[in-house]
């Protein structure tokens, strides 16, 4: 079980809740379970969501494991210059 925090706008489509406890071993499973629970999240995942695990931002490594007790934060996937 990991505790996941969603950024403001995303929490609006996740039942208005910022914090969620989810049973997921990696980012892929986390996204799948979130989408099952809140179908409104799916288009956001398609557009791109980044996952910060203990402060390190992962944008594409969906196989990244979510260590128990880690700080998990979802962010918009951004562009750079």
């Amino acid at each position: 079980m990991v505790e996941v925090t969603l950024w403001g706008s995303l929490s609006a489509v996740a039942g208005g809740k910022a914090r969620h406890d989810i049973e997921a071993k990696d980012i892929r499973e986390l996204f799948r379970k979130l989408a099952e629970q809140y179908p409104g999240i799916e288009p956001w995942i398609d557009r791109g969501i980044a996952v910060a695990i203990d402060g390190t931002i992962y944008r594409d490594t969906w196989s990244k494991e979510l260590p128990p007790g880690a700080e998990i934060f979802l962010l918009p996937r951004l562009a750079g210059g």
Binding site: T5, W7, G8, S9, A12, A52, D54, G55, T56, I57, Y58, R59, D60, T61, K64, E71, F73, L74, L75, P76, L78, A79, G80, G81
Partner: protein
């Protein structure tokens, strides 16, 4: 691929040195080939017709006269491009920006294009195209566009992210929010509160090389595109998707790139050039004029930002809040969102809230510009932080040190930081001789901090070892400022060979796997990771070949300092084999030796910088002069320190231009008035002093060498650092960027008149 990206703290022999770049001679002799320097047999000249109106319905376009002109081989409008109206909205917008389908949405929006046998005929043909416009009311100012009475740019857009679903269409495409804690509670605890509104004008990346490409589409569906871009693989994907080509049959070669800074991360004219070529059946060269670059390619957002920060007497910030409105051009974007995320990223805040609004305006589509959106937010926040320090009677650096984020701090955008460099850059600035240098009359000193995320992403590298032991490195991230030198150093480091044994190139899209763009400060970060991985894969093969040559188990062979060494006393009489020795025998030990890697380089470490500058102001004219400038920034590990310095200096110079003189100026008619280097005033050589740099190295734990991206952060602090310096010089808080002489003189006069 089993690649361990963790930082190991190894000692370096190549990384950190400053060898000459591999593309140097080509670039000082004029041989290097940029976007417009390439030609194909039978090539035509493409030219684009652009809207003179800021907002207009395209009722009809008559191209018949142009088509009849001798020498014209193709004329296209949006009708010649796929209609993506009911498809992917993002792709629709990209194509619509390349060629307007129903409405011209800004001055300079492409409406038609021709391909002719020479530039003169092409220009003449454009004059023969008749466009019937129905001119609509327009809006170019970000605040005005938010007004309920403002002309609607897209009546199908309803603001996303509001608690209640809106019933009316709006120019505000999205509201986003970040933060934690309770700002109301925080402000109630504050002894001092600073609250101010700020504006920044739209700027352009200002690369010296205009967009240029040569496109050639064959009847069998294969195609070639030569183009100056920051990401040829992304251009391939977009062009293929937009024109219905198969990606692998479209070969995109990135030319040398004459500057991009984010502006060459989007396709603009490339789909048009391909479409012209397809229709004409001949190659087409399309080069934008400088006027077109300014009117129709990616400027940054214009912004309007409100900031409120409170602190207790002892200098602890109790709450911070910002509302940020960013212009997107006529298509939705996420620019305010990035501003809202980065605004307070430097600080350790218990209560923080930022809200961003994305705003449509009749200006060219906003594109990324070096740490996009961060400089404007930093300008507003760092100005307010300075003012608050002043009100508290605290030194501006000490106040920031007291409130700086550190490892374990919850960032204002959400997650908790790992090891970061904001504190060390502030300490370095505090102890820098620049901070103690005396100032003369009318001079002021300012400092400010900046943050940027840095990105990684999909990356692919090939490393090939020739039979003579020389090594070629093929990377897929475009070299915008010396990365071929840096990546050669990394390969040399990993293989244990000399830098001079290597040559790095940027491979085309048909020669290498997919790579994300050189953006987000990812070029050296990502490709160095992939290069290390490729080199390690090559070393595995080298060890195997050595084992064959010695006829011993491969597990007994180790790789050290460019040599295979047989490990164990029983091999005492086997002398080490160099890479060259092994390569020479490769033909009979299994064939070519190569190392390949494909990976997602994630875990880019965030980056911080603190800048100091001294400005002199002429109180009678409002003229400014930058007297001294110092950049302190964390690089994680500077692979090629000279090019890291170059990034620091270049970003600072762009920020200085933005702060003082650069801006898009629109007339009441919605047309851009300064689409050239004469009146869009980027800094010239005599405007700037030497730009001192100090590189800090706080290793990124997620890169084997500790590398962080360095390209973008340097443009974040200058707007605020200069605003603080000007404000300190003249005693008036400057809230509108650029601080052009008329704005400074007006502010001074307002102050004098009390």
């Amino acid at each position: 691929m089993n690649f361990d990206p963790r930082f190991t703290g190894r000692k370096f022999s190549s990384v950190g040195t400053r060898p000459l770049r591999p593309d140097g001679i080509d670039k000082v002799t004029g041989r290097a080939r940029y976007g417009a320097d390439f030609n194909m047999a039978g090539q035509l000249v493409g030219r684009v017709l652009r809207s003179p109106h800021a907002h207009a319905v395209i009722k009809s376009i008559d191209t018949s006269k142009a088509e009849k002109l001798a020498g014209v081989k193709a004329v296209i409008t949006a009708k010649d491009l796929p209609d993506l109206t009911d498809g992917d909205a993002a792709m629709y917008d990209i194509l619509d920006n390349s060629m307007a389908r129903t409405k011209a949405l800004y001055d300079g929006h492409a409406v038609a294009a021709v391909a002719a046998i020479d530039a003169r005929i092409a220009r003449q043909a454009l004059k023969l195209i008749e466009v019937d416009y129905e001119v609509l009311p327009h809006v170019t100012d970000v605040d005005e566009a938010m007004n309920h009475h403002a002309p609607l740019i897209n009546d199908a857009i309803f603001t996303e992210g509001l608690e209640e679903k809106p019933v009316k269409a709006s120019n505000v495409t999205k509201r986003t929010q970040f933060g934690h804690g309770d700002v109301h509670k925080g402000f109630a605890q504050a002894d001092f509160i600073v609250e101010r509104s700020f504006k920044t004008e739209q700027t352009h990346q200002g690369y010296i090389e205009p967009h240029a490409c040569v496109a050639s589409v064959n009847p069998d569906g294969t195609a070639d595109l030569w183009v100056c871009t920051q990401g040829h693989f992304v251009y391939r994907q977009h062009c293929a998707q937009l024109l219905g080509l198969e990606a692998s049959k479209l070969r995109v070669t990135s030319s040398e790139i004459g500057g991009g800074f984010g502006g060459k991360t989007h396709v603009w004219a490339e789909p048009v050039a391909l479409a012209l070529s397809r229709k004409a059946g001949r190659p087409v060269k399309l080069v934008m004029t400088r006027d077109e670059v300014f009117r129709a390619s990616g400027p940054t957002s214009a912004t309007s930002i409100d900031v409120k920060i409170g602190a207790t007497k002892d200098g602890t910030i109790t709450a911070a809040e910002a509302t940020l409105r960013y212009s997107c051009g006529p298509y939705p974007g996420s620019w305010a969102e990035i501003g809202a995320m980065t605004a307070f990223a430097c600080y350790n805040l218990e209560n923080v809230k930022t809200v961003g609004f994305e705003v449509l305006v009749n200006r060219p589509k906003t594109a990324a510009y070096r740490a996009p959106s961060a400089p404007m937010a930093a300008f507003a926040v760092e100005s307010a932080v300075d003012e608050l320090a002043h009100e508290l009677g605290m030194n501006a650096v000490d106040f920031r040190i007291k409130n700086a984020a550190q490892e374990g701090t919850r960032a204002s955008y959400g997650p908790v930081y790992g090891p970061i460099g904001i504190g060390p850059t502030l300490e370095a600035v505090k102890n820098h001789p620049h901070m103690k240098a005396p100032l003369k009359a009318n001079q002021g000193r300012g400092m400010a901090c900046g943050f940027w995320f840095n990105f990684g992403g999909q990356t692919c590298v090939d490393l090939n070892i020739g039979m003579d032991g020389s090594v070629s490195l093929a990377v897929g991230t475009v070299d915008v400022g010396g990365s071929r030198a840096s990546l050669s150093l990394v390969a040399a480091e990993e293989l244990g060979i000399d830098y001079s044994q290597l040559k790095a190139i940027v491979a085309d899209t048909s020669s290498l796997g997919y790579n994300d763009m050189t953006d987000g400060s990812r070029g050296t970060f990502s490709s160095s990771m992939a290069t290390i991985s490729a080199a390690r894969n090559a070393i595995k093969i080298l060890r195997d070949r050595a084992a064959q040559m010695w006829d011993i188990p491969v597990d007994d062979v180790v790789w050290e300092k460019g040599h295979a060494i047989a490990k164990g006393e029983k091999y005492g009489n086997l002398s080490a084999l160099s890479l060259k020795d092994i390569a020479a025998k490769s033909g009979t030990t299994g064939g070519p030796i190569a190392g390949h890697s494909e990976l997602v380089a994630d875990g880019a470490g965030v980056s911080f910088a603190t800048h100091i500058c001294d400005i002199e102001v002429d109180p009678e004219t409002g003229a400014t002069r930058v007297i001294r400038y110092t950049v302190v920034q964390d690089a994680g590990k500077a692979v090629h320190p000279t090019y890291v310095e170059g990034q620091y200096q270049g970003g600072a110079a762009q920020g200085i231009g933005w702060a003082l003189n650069e801006e898009y100026i629109y007339g009441k008619d919605g047309r851009l008035q300064n689409a050239g280097f004469l009146d869009y005033r980027i800094p010239v050589c005599s405007d700037l002093p030497m730009i001192d740099t100090q590189i800090l190295e706080i290793p990124n734990p997620n890169h084997p060498y500790g590398v962080r991206g360095v390209g973008e952060t340097s443009i974040v602090p200058p707007l605020a650092a200069i605003a603080n310096a000007v404000s300190n010089a003249v005693g008036v808080r400057m809230t509108h960027i650029p601080m052009s002489p008329p704005r400074i003189l007006a502010a001074l006069d307002a102050e004098r008149e009390g």
